[in-house]
Symmetry: C2
């Protein structure tokens, strides 16, 4: 086991990074705890993680210390002589599609919700359902609240969808969904609920490495992800959950939300099946009302919205960061909803299309569900 400590969260909320690499000529740490750099490309200006050099200390260990950091879950990696690598002293990693980064947590404020605290914990299950529409067995993650197993009670259900390239593990790994729910429920801020995190890549059985195709490299080139297939087949998932868990199986007790592509899915599923969901959340949604129509799911949008808002959801919630490249599309959607007088809740935050915002949105959205 590595003998040096890295990262070391210091009492003043600075963080020290260390690497024992005697042969290296240059060591850099890069991560979302540093101010982003903006790079210009032919496709526009993009923000990428900032970086900071390490220097050899008196023991010959590469070392650097950040400025004071606000409470947050942060991610980082090292770059050693141009080669990106995780911190060998830190076993805590998260996978975002094919990229693995290390994490650390500065507790306090909202980030306390992202930590495992000494509170009752729900159960997190990986469960497979038979999907008649695809002929596949498909995997999903299900969170059941503390006490579910023995309470005998029925619970409301929140369907929580990932973005492009993500999978059924994403909200748990990157989104800290089980920690957030445990903590909100323990503080009586959210109703005890079942949270269902299906795999939104309908051409895929399961997350990379969990499929019968073997340990093949993950890909973001997923067919059928935004062609209406997932949305059309969504009642399969709801039916499976209602047969398998003790649910309150009606609109007042069903919510759906998702990030990016998952927000797109949530929008289209909830208006395709207007009697299914009483609560809808679009988190940085990849919503584009002008997009080329590739499925009947995306046709007759105005009529479907009208039907959905005739008996309007108790909550239609839109959250977007000011710097998100999807900001304009969300503004267009809001203009449309405004023009029709359809009620919704709008939350605008700093920042862009990043997990930090989606954890915030989940923490804001979950307490509003099921007539709290």
């Amino acid at each position: 086991m590595p003998k040096i400590i890295s990262p070391q969260v210091n009492p003043d909320t600075t963080v020290t990074f260390r690497l024992d690499a005697p042969g290296a000529s240059e060591v850099i740490v890069t991560g979302d705890f540093l101010p982003p750099r903006h790079i210009e490309t032919p496709y526009g200006s993009f923000a990428i993680d900032g970086s900071m050099p390490l220097a050899k200390n008196s023991d010959g260990i590469w070392e650097c210390t950040s400025g004071k950091l606000s409470p947050e879950l942060y991610s980082y990696t090292f770059i050693v002589d141009s080669l990106r690598m995780p911190d060998p002293s830190n076993v805590y990693q998260i996978r975002d599609v094919g990229t693995i980064t290390n994490i650390f947590l500065i507790p306090g404020d909202r980030a306390t919700s992202y930590a495992v605290n000494d509170v009752p914990h729900g159960t997190v299950s990986k469960i497979w359902y038979d999907s008649p529409s695809t002929g596949m067995k498909r995997r999903m993650s299900v969170y059941t609240p503390p006490g579910y197993e023995t309470s005998g009670k029925e619970y409301p259900v929140f369907y929580l969808l990932h973005g492009m390239g993500g999978d059924e593990d994403a909200w748990l790994e990157l989104g800290r969904a089980s920690e957030i729910l445990d903590n909100l429920i323990a503080e009586w801020k959210a109703e005890p609920m079942i949270v269902v995190m299906p795999n939104g890549n309908i051409s895929q059985e399961a997350a990379p490495g969990r499929t019968s195709h073997g340990l093949v490299p993950p890909t973001t080139a997923l067919p059928n992800t935004m062609d209406g297939t997932f949305e059309a087949a969504f009642p399969e998932i709801v039916g499976f959950i209602d047969r398998t868990y003790r649910t309150k199986a009606d609109k007042d007790n069903r919510a759906i939300a998702g990030l990016s592509m998952g927000g797109f899915h949530s929008c289209h599923i909830s208006k395709q099946y207007p009697d299914m969901f009483g609560y809808v959340g679009l988190f940085s949604a990849a919503i584009n009302t002008d997009k080329e129509k590739r499925s009947p799911i995306y046709e007759e949008m105005e009529r479907k919205f009208a039907e959905q808002f005739k008996n309007a959801p108790a909550l239609y919630w839109i959250g977007i960061g000011k710097e998100d490249f999807l900001f304009k599309d969300n503004q267009n959607l809001r203009n449309f909803l405004d023009s029709k007088g359809y009620p919704y809740t709008y939350v605008e935050t700093e920042g862009g299309h990043i997990w930090r915002n989606w954890r915030v949105y989940l923490t804001e959205f979950a307490p509003l569900l099921f007539n709290r």
Copy 2:
């Protein structure tokens, strides 16, 4: 995402490793797919993973190809200018205590059982129980067989214990327990059963990163791991499982087995509670009948064995590798059992104290359970 493919399992079952590290002077791959090297130390001779150098190919990519490999789940890492790092092109990793390695799988023979195949899949849950004896909430992994949720049936239960430094994730991550059970059940080789994988480090709530102590480095220095506390409190776990799942709650339908420290635990728990387990498995067990007694659990061994074998378990199974440093201790236990005429099944394999053997033992042991 990395653009090169590594590892590449070739049709002839050789494997090619690649790394894009233009600035490196030396790149080595080390792993259990290579013949082990034996090193001499003041404490004796030890086998460590062999290594193989990579060389720059015509594209400037470091590359090497192994010899033909037998079907197996293998692990490896790179060493770049003396710095150990995972393969950045391979997102499939396993954590063994504080060490992360990459994996790849050569399918075929027994290793086909270690793959996710297109068969019905059980559910894998992370569930917490209240432990009155420790005052803690503690985490465990539970596998329920395909169909459990809706069958209404009661199932036998197999308690499967990890070794020193492991935790409730170890049998799933390193042991491929859910894949092995899915595949054995699908082939009608094993009875559909619940498999319970508790955390055997009784001073610990949960695996590293899942505790309320934060993202602190894992440690093997775990107090109370072999002092009788876990064994004494084991009925807490059995009681929780019988209250929470649909179990067949009797000796004929309960098995316990474990590797190394978990074999030690299985031996002592099963004789402390002689009416609890009808099936007992010691996998490379850290069993030492002469060890210093630190708990009443370890006292009166002869009387307790006599009581256990008065109404002998349907199966008392001992598996050990010829090169295991615990071979002699297991031989002593067998001599004792032989001297008393207590029946047991003995399986001797090649190799040492390694996960490869424990996956084999699980694959051999599970089909023998519950009157198959």
